[in-house]
Symmetry: C2
Subunit: 674 residues, 2 copies
């Protein structure tokens, strides 16, 4: 539901992160990922498939310039190359650069980005159109294949990039360019007679337009976002009409998806289960949540909540991964969560965090922040190697190298992260979300400051127009203590201090928490999963927050077929896993005793510094099995004791490639019988 | 290894089957399947995709006749329709008819088959060529796409059909036709200069040519079979050359298969693991075993045994199903036996029985007959509905209707058998193997009669040129007693009787067996899994054989990832399963106690009469789970008692469609710790 106390998420510029866990990752993004991607966009990575992205813009710019001069000849080599959505990679890079500059000024990087923006803008058509695929291949066909050709998707990413860069630098060149393009789109699409009644095959423009509205205050952008959402999936189906008109065969006609692949099989207000391509789905839902919040559309918000609940209570991996099937990179059905043939694209977990943050703003409830935290600490950062040079598209929960090598249906599950993908959505998406982490950590409503994520940082915000700074210090997720120092700028406050609320999330995984203010225990009231500390705050007040963070075994709802009889191991927000490097081969033969005690050891030298877990467990013994026997009367339940080691899921695949497993078989000897 | 006492499998004409279990199935084939398939071949089944098979032959016959008359005009409607291997459906039908006529004379059916043979023969070209695809589409292209176009495969099936029909009726019209075609193939392919160095993309001609050799004694057919086997996969690869010559793109170039999809990636004598399309593989291996036996090729026989062992000890489902993946309908890798995404094509289990019977002939060892029995009683007959009107292509060991409906990677796993497939290989293949069951049950070597399968029947054979009849009576697989009456035609024997061996299989599943001769216990010596009864037999001697047939739980080798912690239930040769019709939904939540006692009840009214099994087990309780919780700290191992019912696997999917499960989770509370 829409709260009457909505939040404004933190601006990135309001948050300075000094966190031992995240700063390292963000620094890796700044110093490795962003420069590497720039090289990649310029086709300068040896051995990697060329991106062609910058090259496409240069060609489009030349064509545009020639057209302006009345020169219509083209060189034979003026070809568009790469995916139809190749432009978006540059947009995502600029967005990441913007965030990065907010965190860390860098003149050289800014100069490179300025040049890139010039290259982009030179390609823009007089009427505002800006998509290199059609500029190069023929403008007469633009907006005729919304189903597959990602024009509106690319615009969405450019809006995000332009806003980010504008917010970081105050430079509005790209912002003005995307506004002109968005205005063209607004003239082209809409309910008015003569306008196209279409919407994008791949969503993102919806949330981007809301962001553009928020920064420009131009209502037409919000209206256009709402139009794309409300028009989507209405009968007669736009994509079906488009197919007919252009004599195009239906996509996915031999599948169960049909138009639900892109959430266009029925009106969005009739969609209550997450279906189709997972990234598209959560991008759409994010846009829906934005529009619902900005237009106070309670009905739409309720649909968002139903979709949220469907995903997070029936279709989400314990890592925050979504999209169970490689077929269409898509959702399947409730409780279908295979661990080894999973898709769980990095971008889908990123999109889930987008959706979570938007739901949280509209309705501050820890159920959103819990999932956001789960995604950040597990399924998102698992997408990147610790050194920032390699990336996972697919984030499996069980890996059998032989299967990836010999079974076609496991082939998408790679055992090692890859350097750069032909379809390179995940690395730049990682760059942009990790550079913008600050906005996910905090939010402010009228009289309350929310702390969603726990990372060492300063958050500078305003309550009732008066500045407040929270200084958070923690070694989370390794340690369970968070201190928050409240700093008030004296001149703005009465000498007696001032009343406001601090709402600090009590994570769903945390069974016991304690708060002290200035060394004295307090028992805050809890509301929607947040501990609410209300008081006449004084500068220098210190909150000490402790969350009991024992290692726990976690079970799945028994409806999850693939996890029956298995347990996962968690500590705080972190999901753990077994890796062959620690435990040898045949991880599926390892059994965990639910009552086992775990030893927790911080190892600074291991995987960039992690708390590793060891415990005594069992391994299904096969010494009695003749290797020539496949089936045998009796039971093979004979166990040997074995010491087993767990590492955080996000850190897997940073050593010798091998097996990995999250859900471990469990001894069930202590079962109560009802 | 090649035995120095090889067997001759029974001729079908030597065996008359009166078995309560099998006669019903064979009668269904005779009265339902064969007539239905004739209608299907003639496109007379309403609602089914037309086969076009007979129509193709009629068109080809008209074209052939016109060509003979010098008339080269064609009607526009003279089109080949259906799969490129459509001819083979008619061949398989004729083969089944031949066997059926041996079991049961039927003048009307014979007349129909004679007509069909005339239609076939009218299409034959003056040089012997006989494949409607190329006769209709242009003979100039024949034998130019061995990789995909199944000409040699179709010939293989026609040889099998022609021999069967000749043996049944003495009529040699089709036999002469296929000899002429085989002679053309022999003139076209071979090591001699000017001949093509090819081999079929889909094997079967190898074993068919050996059969043609056996009936005609023409050595060139054996030599040609050996040529196809020895040439296969040699460098330079024939298919690669063919592709180059005809500018054809490689098949499976983006897969792990490459040419091993059709076992042509390396010379067959270097192939020690079963790879590629499972049906093709076992058809090839059957031909290899035939050639090895007929040419006394010990090396080739050893390869066959290695392939056999690889399949049966590492790549075979407990049902005798093979081919783990729908991708290429193929083998994957050792111990990869997923139960729900399985392929396990009916035809592959049939092919495994072919291979088994050939290995058994070359080397009488119960390891071959055990698997043959497993396939017959489980994975083969599961392919047909009890009423003979519907067929499974895929034989899963776990079925979740929602997955088949909503997950593309489960879509091939249908919950109900289908009437007739577009690619209709399985139903006619079932018809031909089930009509020829007799030849799998018995064999005779120089001085020994072998009983491989236990079915009520008379087997008339010869030992040292003297006739012997075994009269077998049993209610197997429901009951565990087999009586065998020995009948000797007196005039051929010395009055004192005559010494010979009866070798009776002691199944691998049987832990305790007993033999009586004329009511007196005997303890036969055992050799290669057979009990050898040696004696001066007299007419009227009666052997009473009892096999302990308790219900047992069966475990998998711990290397089988998908069966860890699970048990299957067997009784005698039959694998049992859980069906939703008996046990409700969510079969994956049922737990079996390995020590449970099963109640065995013969129910004449259930599923055509079966022994059903009931026991007390458990179900994983979810009453403590909030339906909105997906993951929860703790363990979900809380059980409720539940009575559970098992039915024979072959009989599943003959009631209301629903879930099915072979491998059931097991309680592991009684585990010994080593």
């Amino acid at each position: 539901m829409l709260s009457n106390q909505p939040l404004t998420p933190a601006d990135i510029s309001q948050v300075s992160i000094t966190d031992p866990f995240w700063s390292k990752i963000m620094e890796t993004v700044r110093t490795k990922v962003i420069p590497y991607q720039w090289e990649a966009l310029n086709d300068r990575i040896e051995g990697a498939e060329p991106s062609h992205c910058i090259e496409n813009f240069k060609i489009a710019g030349k064509i545009t310039k020639n057209a302006a001069k009345g020169i219509y000849e083209r060189d034979a080599q003026d070809k568009f190359q790469g995916f139809v959505f190749q432009d978006s990679d540059l947009a995502k890079w600029i967005e990441a650069v913007g965030y990065s500059l907010m965190n860390h000024r860098d003149e050289e990087l800014e100069a490179i980005a300025d040049d890139a923006i010039s290259i982009i803008c030179e390609a823009q058509q007089p009427d505002g159109y800006l998509n290199t695929y059609y500029i190069i291949n023929g403008l007469e066909n633009r907006f005729t294949n919304l189903r597959d050709h990602h024009e509106l998707y690319c615009l969405g990413h450019f809006i995000e990039g332009a806003v980010s860069y504008y917010q970081a630098t105050g430079k509005d060149k790209l912002l003005n360019a995307v506004k002109r393009y968005a205005d063209l789109v607004d003239r082209t699409f809409g309910p008015e007679p003569g306008k196209k009644k279409g919407y994008p095959g791949h969503e993102i423009i919806e949330m981007a337009l809301v962001r553009l509205y928020e920064v420009t205050k131009e209502k037409r952008y919000l209206k256009l976002a709402k139009y794309f959402i409300d028009e989507r999936g209405k009968a007669p189906n736009y994509f079906a009409q488009e197919e007919k008109e252009h004599n195009r065969s239906p996509l996915w006609h031999d599948s169960y998806f049909k138009y639900q692949y892109s959430q266009a099989g029925k009106p969005v207000r009739e969609q209550t289960e997450a279906e189709g391509h997972a990234v598209r789905a959560v991008y759409l839902y994010s846009g829906m949540a934005d529009v619902a919040r900005q237009t106070q559309d309670e009905e739409l918000m309720n649909i968002c909540e139903r979709l949220w609940d469907n995903i997070t209570t029936k279709r989400m991996y314990i890592t925050g991964g979504i999209g169970s099937s490689s077929y269409g990179e898509a959702f399947t059905y409730d409780y279908d969560l295979p661990n080894d043939t999973v898709y769980a694209e990095t971008c889908a977990s990123i999109g889930l965090a987008f959706f979570a943050n938007r739901m949280l703003s509209a309705d501050p409830n820890s159920k959103y922040a819990d999932v956001m935290e789960k995604a950040f600490y597990n399924g998102i950062i698992s997408g990147m190697s610790l050194d920032g040079t390699k990336f996972f598209y697919v984030n499996p929960l069980e890996v059998i190298p032989e299967a990836s090598k010999k079974d076609q249906w496991h082939r998408h599950v790679t055992v090692e992260r890859q350097r750069w993908f032909g379809c390179a959505c995940c690395p730049p998406n990682l760059a942009r979300i990790l550079s913008s982490l600050g906005q996910y950590a905090y939010g402010t409503s009228k009289d309350t400051i929310y702390v969603h994520l726990f990372l060492s940082s300063n958050y500078n915000t305003n309550i009732n127009g008066r500045p407040v700074q929270l200084k958070v210090q923690t070694e989370y997720p390794w340690k369970n203590t968070v201190t928050i120092d409240v700093n008030l700028e004296k001149s703005h406050y009465a000498s007696e201090g001032d009343s406001m609320n601090l709402a600090i999330r009590v994570p769903g995984w945390c069974r016991e928490s304690s708060f002290m203010i200035n060394g004295e225990s307090v028992t805050p009231k809890q509301c929607n999963g947040y501990a609410i500390l209300t008081r006449d705050w004084k500068s220098g007040d210190r909150i000490t927050y402790e969350m009991a963070m024992p290692v726990v075994t976690v079970a799945s709802n028994p409806k999850v077929r693939d996890n029956i009889g298995k347990l996962a191991v968690m500590r705080g927000p972190l999901v753990y896993c077994l890796e062959e490097a620690d435990n040898g081969k045949d991880l599926h033969r390892i059994y965990l005793d639910p009552g086992t005690q775990f030893e927790e050891t911080y190892d600074a030298g291991l995987l960039g510094g992690i708390v590793k877990l060891t415990c005594s467990g069992y391994v299904l013994d096969d010494s009695a099995w003749n290797s020539n026997t496949l089936y045998e009367a009796g039971s093979n339940m004979v166990f040997r004791a074995k010491s087993i080691t767990f590492i955080p899921y996000y850190s897997w695949a940073n050593r010798t490639p091998g097996e990995m497993l999250v859900w471990v078989h469990a001894i069930n000897n202590c079962h109560p019988i009802l």
